[in-house]
């Protein structure tokens, strides 16, 4: 039996188009294999078996034109159905049982007539002599058909002889080994075994203590105790959620343009918890597909329906929402088919399936089950073609205290919003009143009139002269603090404000405007007062101000501070020295009269050190000043009638009003603050399925085109599979119940096969994603069926089945490739050795975090952002989310919690074959590339882990020798001690490195500092030794053994 020699190359599920006949070569090797299942066991090796020997030939070469698809059927002849193939075709028959020469089919495949030959020359398909002979023998033996094995429900087969200490799994495996003439391998040593099973069940390595406990336990149940402990661990759900979330195409973003983030992580946590609780798989199925439709559905059951809300969603501008919805439903149908039926339903979206008995009617029958969900993009403005992610969301429950606090805040918010509304509605100075005032003001634009100075006085004893432009130039003495009094008389009326200018002049040091310092020519107007003496009045009246503005104010010395009544504050202009400045003070009412009035300006400048104005000038404002501060766009907008303004103009006016009205500003700030608090307490949300009240009518889409609809179909399950119980509801719940009904031949097989592949590296059916007629036959059909039946009869217990697998002797074998196996069975299809293959991307990272001591076991919640190189997130579109490296324990949590953005998944995961989760992935490839080497050597995340591992050795083994530390390192990383050769090598590397770093202490510092952004060298350790250990830790994290489950 050298049959599996070639198989190792098709690990990725693929052959390729060139080597036609190659796949057939594999198939015929099944002859001579005696198998022990009820369905398979009856076949003797030398007998023709339809499913094993004939169907693959017909399916590959004939069914395309003579199979289920009526659209492409040639000559009306059908070969996939026995009756049709044997029917009278008008004097002749396709197949005549027992008589190949009388059978048209046989004639067609052996004829020399190129016109008659099948498959036709132009098809590029050729039958080999062996295939032709098989078909001949089959017809001669009666041309008996059999249903495809996977569509026949499994029955529990005989297990064969169980080896001592083994279980049922071994019965099947040993049988095959014997037939193949191969010997099983001895049991792996205890350290290897506990590391293997810990990784398989929890995705994490055992701690050295766990290894010691296991080694010290000499009870016969020692291993089983470990298995039970691991199955109970909360780490179990985290490890097994990963492959399920690949199937569920779970991600934290929409996909497509923009690829914005959305919250669905509660579903991820639901999966982890369900797996930890060993939720029966039938329930697990029903809740995910239809939890919302269960009677009195719980919050958890609704969260579970996130399974089908993980689908991608296109929200780019110009998308057609219905097309998006149809694509989403199609994805749900296809994913359901792949995950539960191992069926490639999508072929039947556009035409009847070419190979499997799935028609377009079947396809749209399932489609109808999923067709009653609402649109998931919406056009938020109601106009234009911009869209947002939408669709049903559910708030997650929050604690009572939080809920109460939220309610209180909601009350506060409501009252604040009422206050605000009252403010805006206020007839005196509300929004409308303001707008009217502004519009009036714009019609009466203000005008400045410089006031003629009647007198100038100062208490500082300076010299001064009044210039022609009515400014006062102050010279001579520079007193520290001073009060100017300027008196002016005017007969202007309707004055609404005054301007005080501080002008420059060459006679002022540094040109001014302040006098005290040529370099920093600042002034501080501490306080200004204006008194008016009206005609007939005996005493002056102090004017009140409504506000102040200035062309410029120094930070913390805003112009308002000149009228705040506080002499310690004031208006200043640093660092804008050497330039003229002005301040305007609006009066609370109009002043002035045509009969004349006198104004007395008191400019208090008490800061000291001569920070006084060198050349003041005062002006009066007539006309309405309130429009002065309006920016141009607001002026333009206000001039328009309200109806004629566009959105942008309306927004500009509103924004300016809010900003300029201190009361509104204040209340808005308060609303924003409370709102923030409120939102911080908001319950997180998650995406769920809901059913529309009015179900949609489902029509067949011709060629899969949603705009070209055909006949109406109703929800139905595929005809080839057992019929649905008529008492089931006609919705997703009914479909889910049907999927996990005991008659379904596929679900249990497909499911246990995926778990088998996770543990053993390849499925019993190696096409894990396809159990249709084009699938690879199972290597151990009896084992597959036995596990499937055991699974269902155990109450759909995943943990029960996994335990069967890992308790088997088959699993516990040494995984080394014996020379004979290297020749005979490199891909380990016969299972003559234990499993050995590279870990998944997430497991590699989790393992490195664990051995370096960094791993945080915090569970659940929002996705995390550990370190990733800058510049990875730069998608086109709106609201690009930002990646912020976590600096706390989130940096070191398990990979299952790392945020999954479809357009740019976590880069080190991508390098280790992580998918984009844009669609359902059943089996990740396992590649071996230089980019992986670069990742483990240089990714700062892994370098930081190496530093942590090195530090850990220094801290946990104080005073230990190098050899002792190394031994500890090996126990941490590999759960074993180093061999002599390993120790020798690493000790010599270590000696060389320590010497090097002692000679180059600065390099040691740089290496250590560069390795850890969050992880720091432990205090007091020798830098050269730590740097040398860092070098070694980096090597250890790069070894094949480190990233391999073996």
């Amino acid at each position: 039996m050298k049959s599996w020699k070639n198989r190792q190359n098709v690990e990725n599920g693929g052959g390729h188009g060139v080597s036609r006949g190659f796949s057939f070569a594999k198939r015929i090797l099944w002859i001579g294999v005696c198998v022990g299942s009820s369905q398979w066991g009856t076949v003797r090796a030398d007998e023709i078996d339809f499913n094993r020997d004939i169907r693959p030939i017909l399916s590959e070469n004939c069914f395309h034109c003579h199979g289920p698809d009526k659209e492409t059927r040639e000559a009306g002849f059908r070969l996939d159905i026995e009756e049709a193939a044997k029917a009278d075709l008008g004097g002749y028959h396709g197949l005549v049982p027992g008589d190949a020469d009388a059978s048209e089919v046989y004639y067609r495949i052996v004829t020399d007539d190129e016109g008659d030959l099948m498959p036709p020359l132009k098809s590029n398909r050729r039958l080999t002599a062996v295939q032709k002979d098989l078909l001949k023998r089959w017809i001669e033996e009666g041309a008996e058909y059999a249903e495809h094995w996977a569509y026949v429900a499994p029955e529990r087969p005989e297990t064969g002889v169980l080896p001592e200490g083994g279980n049922e799994v071994d019965g099947f495996v040993r049988g095959r080994l014997e037939e193949a003439g191969l010997k099983p391998s001895a049991e792996a040593d205890a350290r290897t075994l506990i590391r293997r099973v810990s990784l398989d069940l929890t995705g994490l390595p055992p701690t050295p203590e766990e290894v010691d406990v296991f080694l010290a336990d000499d009870s016969p149940r020692a291993y089983e105790k470990v298995v039970d402990r691991l199955l109970r661990s909360e780490r179990f759900g985290e490890r097994w959620a990963r492959p399920w979330l690949d199937l569920a195409r779970y991600a934290d973003s929409n996909g497509f343009q923009a690829d914005q983030l959305r919250d669905s992580w509660a579903y991820r946590d639901w999966v982890i918890e369900a797996l930890n609780a060993d939720m029966p798989f039938d329930q697990f199925t029903i809740e995910q597909l239809a939890g919302d439709l269960l009677p009195n559905a719980t919050v958890e059951q609704k969260i579970a329906t996130g399974f089908h809300r993980t689908v991608t969603c296109n929200v780019e501008a110009g998308v057609h929402p219905e097309e998006n919805r149809v694509n989403q439903v199609v994805d749900r149908v296809n994913t359901t088919g792949t995950v539960w039926l191992g069926a490639t339903l999508e072929c039947a979206q556009c035409h009847d399936h070419k190979y499997d008995p799935i028609t377009m009617e079947d396809y749209y029958g399932i489609y109808a089950y999923f067709n009653n969900t609402p649109l998931e993009v919406e056009n938020p403005g109601g106009t234009g073609v911009q869209f947002s992610f939408y669709g049903p969301k559910m708030e997650l429950p929050i604690g009572e205290a939080q809920a109460q606090e939220r309610e209180e805040l909601q009350g506060v918010l409501a009252s604040l919003r009422r206050d605000r509304k009252a403010l805006l509605d206020n007839k005196e100075d509300g929004r409308e009143a303001w707008e009217e005032r502004m519009r009036a003001a714009l019609k009466n634009p203000p005008k400045w009139e410089v006031l003629e100075v009647a007198s100038f006085e100062s208490n500082g004893g300076e010299d001064f002269r009044i210039l022609k432009d009515q400014s006062v130039l102050v010279t001579g003495r520079v007193p520290g603090s001073v009060v100017y009094t300027i008196t002016a008389r005017t007969d202007l009326e309707g004055i609404t404000g005054f301007r005080v200018e501080a002008l420059t002049h060459p006679e002022i040091p540094g040109n001014g405007p302040g006098r005290g310092d040529a370099k920093r020519a600042n002034f501080i107007l501490s306080e200004i007062g204006i008194e008016v003496l009206e005609k007939g009045a005996k005493r002056g009246r102090e004017l009140a101000f409504r506000g102040a503005s200035a062309n410029f104010s120094q930070v913390k010395w805003e112009v308002e501070k000149a009228i705040d009544g506080n002499p310690k504050t004031g208006w200043a202009i640093g660092p804008e020295f050497g330039k003229p400045h002005w301040a305007v003070f609006e009066t609370a009412g109009e002043v002035g009269s045509s009969e004349g009035a006198t104004f007395v300006f008191t400019l208090d400048q008490n800061f000291g050190r001569g920070r006084t104005i060198g050349r003041p000038r005062v002006s009066a404002l007539v006309g309405d000043s309130s429009s002065l501060s309006l920016p141009d766009d607001v002026v333009e907008a206000l001039k328009l009638e309200a109806k004629k303004r566009n959105n942008k103009q309306r927004r500009a006016i509103d924004a300016f009003y809010m900003e300029s009205n201190p009361k509104v500003k204040e209340i808005d700030a308060e609303i924003a603050r409370v709102d923030r608090l409120f939102n911080e307490l908001a319950p997180p949300t998650t995406l769920v399925m809901v059913e529309m009240e009015e179900p949609r009518e489902t029509k067949i889409m011709k060629r899969g085109n949603y705009l070209d609809l055909g006949e109406t179909v109703t929800a139905a399950t595929p005809a080839v599979l057992p019929a649905i119980d008529p008492s089931f509801p006609k919705n997703r719940l009914g479909l889910a119940k049907w999927l996990v009904s005991p008659e379904n031949p596929l679900v249990a097989r497909v499911t246990v096969n995926r778990w088998w592949a996770e543990i053993f590296g390849d499925g019993i059916v190696s096409t894990v994603e396809d159990f249709g007629t084009q699938s690879e036959p199972p290597t151990h059909p009896g084992l597959l069926d036995w596990l499937a039946v055991e699974f269902v009869e155990s109450g759909w217990s995943m943990k029960h089945v996994l335990k069967k697998m890992v308790m088997s002797k088959t699993y516990r074998q040494d995984s080394a490739l014996r020379p004979d196996l290297l020749e005979e069975d490199l891909g380990n299809r016969y299972l003559a050795r234990g499993p050995r293959f590279r870990m998944s991307a997430e497991m590699i990272r989790d393992n490195a975090l664990a051995v370096s001591g960094l791993l945080s076991t915090k569970m659940g919640g929002e996705p995390i952002m550990p370190y990733q190189p800058p510049g990875m997130w730069r998608q086109v579109g709106r609201n690009e989310p930002k990646w912020v490296d976590a600096q706390d324990e989130d940096r070191f949590r398990r990979g299952i919690y790392v945020i999954w953005r479809r357009a740019a998944p976590y880069p080190s995961f991508v390098n280790f074959d992580g998918p984009d989760r844009g669609s359902c992935v059943v089996k990740r490839p396992r590649t071996n590339t230089p980019l992986q080497a670069l990742t483990l050597m240089n990714d700062p995340a892994y370098v930081e882990m190496a530093l942590a591992l090195a530090s850990r050795l220094m801290v946990e083994c104080p005073g230990a020798t190098m050899g002792e530390k190394l031994s500890h390192a090996y126990e941490l990383v590999f759960s074993r001690r180093p061999s002599e050769g390993e120790a020798q090598h690493l000790e010599s590397v270590y000696r060389e490195r320590v010497t090097y770093y002692r000679e180059n202490p600065e390099t040691a510092e740089v290496v250590i500092a560069g390795a850890g952004e969050v992880v720091k060298a432990p205090p007091g350790v020798d830098a050269a030794e730590l740097a040398a250990w860092l070098h070694l830790a980096n090597i250890l994290l790069n070894l094949d053994e480190t990233i391999t489950k073996g």
Binding site: K354, T383, V385, A903
Partner: protein, 480 residues
């Protein structure tokens, strides 16, 4: 022990091709099996694995993200100009799916101004807009397809459709298919390299993803900021000599392990570390355009150290020189829903000179015959005006997404120079003659590389998948 290692390494060589390194590709693999060949004859086997003699060995595929207005660059429509401003015929609008336009639009011709005028160029007389004066100079090397049409009118799905033959996630991109089919010519560089200017396109990594093909065939982005290849540079303070020591230790310890467990995967991994180490010098060397002559920089308009489309064009030539099979350039910024004429001329200023330089440079070096250069986009732009933005507000005039017909071009690699395939109607709306579907275009591209698009398949989910689904015809007319 050493015998075991040799045995394992022998197996590892075969494994390598499918899942390791940068992939020698499916054909080489099959050849190895059929002939049980030794390493020395890989190259000849590689050639035998092709379906026909290839015309091109490498591709530089430039995808203009957002979709340039082909009507103002490559497909001159005097009638459209004449009727510019008139309402478009009903059949352009009624019952049609458009991304942004919601009211019956008017026609929009290319402005009647010198800077936008078209000129007949070269001996072939190919008409090219004055917006691309440099490209006008290489007109005789260009092969226009004026009638490409697609099925998608939103960016991300259309990008996936044109690059993977499928409008949703999960399928391999054209570069991955070529990597899978032909592998790399340089074992120290990926077969499929991606260079991006501006933001990443809407389809994200899926635009260069490997779908269901082994992930070694996915495009590797070479970045112009930070490490050109992620994690290429050593951590701070770690020298090349230090890294050599690491790689030696990893090799030594992995060899000890290999002797114990005999898994050929370990032998493969040892090889990957050597390859990684070599990449640490070969990639920076490749990316260092400073070593190019002044004349080259002047021709391309390149500046070492800058991020620019011009630099990417020059890098593309350097990659092809080193045997990278498929270099994909993405350039963002062509989605001109408004101000199309101003914005288009800004973009052409960025790309015109370097693209023409690339074609000239390849030609001067005798590489154009074996290098296929492609100018493409996810769709074209409407001959109708779009006057409103996504929010429904009026904006300066632009063009909407258009899937019925648009112009792409190829140069070199066995395509006819100075040639035009297909013709659109007088208003540039639809195909008047010789339409080319995306699947046809991809079939033609594979054909030029020596591959029958119907025979480059990968079995997945019980079915032989291919880039062109079940469609596609080679456009014989564009072949030399």
């Amino acid at each position: 022990m050493s015998e075991m290692n040799e045995l394992a390494e022998g197996v590892s060589r075969r494994q390598l091709f499918q899942r390791a390194g940068f992939g020698i590709g499916g054909y080489a693999l099959s050849s190895l099996f059929q002939a049980d060949a030794n390493a020395d004859s890989e190259d000849s086997l590689l050639r035998r694995g092709l379906h026909f003699a290839p015309r091109a060995k490498n591709v530089i595929y430039i995808h203009m993200v957002g979709a340039p207005s082909h009507l103002d660059l490559f497909d001159y429509k005097p009638e459209l100009q004449k009727r510019s401003g008139q309402l478009c015929p009903d059949e352009f609008f009624v019952g049609k799916q458009l991304a942004f336009i919601r009211e019956q639009p008017s026609l929009l011709g290319t402005p009647n101004e010198d800077q936008y005028a078209f000129k007949r160029c070269g001996e072939s007389g190919l008409e090219i807009s004055n917006l691309m004066p440099h490209l006008q100079g290489v007109a005789d090397d260009l092969c226009f397809i004026r009638t490409l049409h697609t099925e998608q009118f939103n960016h991300a799905p259309a990008q996936m459709f044109s690059l993977t033959g499928f409008p949703r996630f999960g399928r391999p991109s054209v570069g991955s298919w070529l990597s899978y089919g032909l592998g790399s010519e340089n074992e120290n560089l990926p077969a499929f390299v991606v260079l991006v200017t501006g933001q990443v396109l809407g389809a994200g990594n899926s635009a260069w993803g490997s779908g269901f093909l082994p992930t070694i065939h996915q495009g590797i982005e070479f970045r112009s900021q930070g490490d050109p290849v992620l994690f290429l540079s050593n951590p701070k303070g770690v020298s090349g000599a230090d890294r050599r020591k690491t790689v030696d230790s990893v090799k030594h310890l992995n060899s000890l392990r290999l002797a114990d467990v005999g898994d050929p995967e370990i032998a493969t991994r040892i090889g990957q570390y050597e390859m990684a180490y070599r990449m640490q010098s070969s990639v920076p060397d490749l990316m260092d355009i400073g070593s190019e002559s002044k004349a080259v920089h002047e021709m391309y308009g390149t500046e070492p150290g800058k991020t620019s489309f011009a630099n990417n064009c020059l890098l593309a030539r350097r990659m092809v020189e080193r045997g990278v099979r498929f270099v994909q350039l993405f350039d963002q910024g062509w989605d001109h829903h408004n101000s199309v004429f101003d914005r288009l001329s800004n973009k052409t200023k960025e790309v015109d000179q370097p693209i023409a330089a690339l074609i000239r440079d390849l030609k001067n070096r005798g590489m154009l015959d074996e290098t296929l250069v492609v100018w493409s986009a996810e769709f074209g732009r409407t001959p109708m005006a779009q006057g409103r933005n996504g929010g429904g507000e009026e904006v300066k005039i632009g063009r909407d997404h258009h899937k019925e017909a648009y112009t792409v071009w190829m140069a070199g690699g066995g395509t006819k120079g100075g040639h035009v395939h297909g013709e659109t109607d007088e208003l540039g709306y639809g195909v008047a003659r010789d339409g080319v579907h995306i699947h046809d275009f991809n079939a033609t591209l594979l054909h030029l590389m020596g591959i029958d698009h119907e025979r480059l398949t990968f079995r997945y989910q019980g079915r032989q998948f291919r880039l062109t689904d079940v469609h596609g015809h080679v456009v014989e007319d564009v072949l030399v």
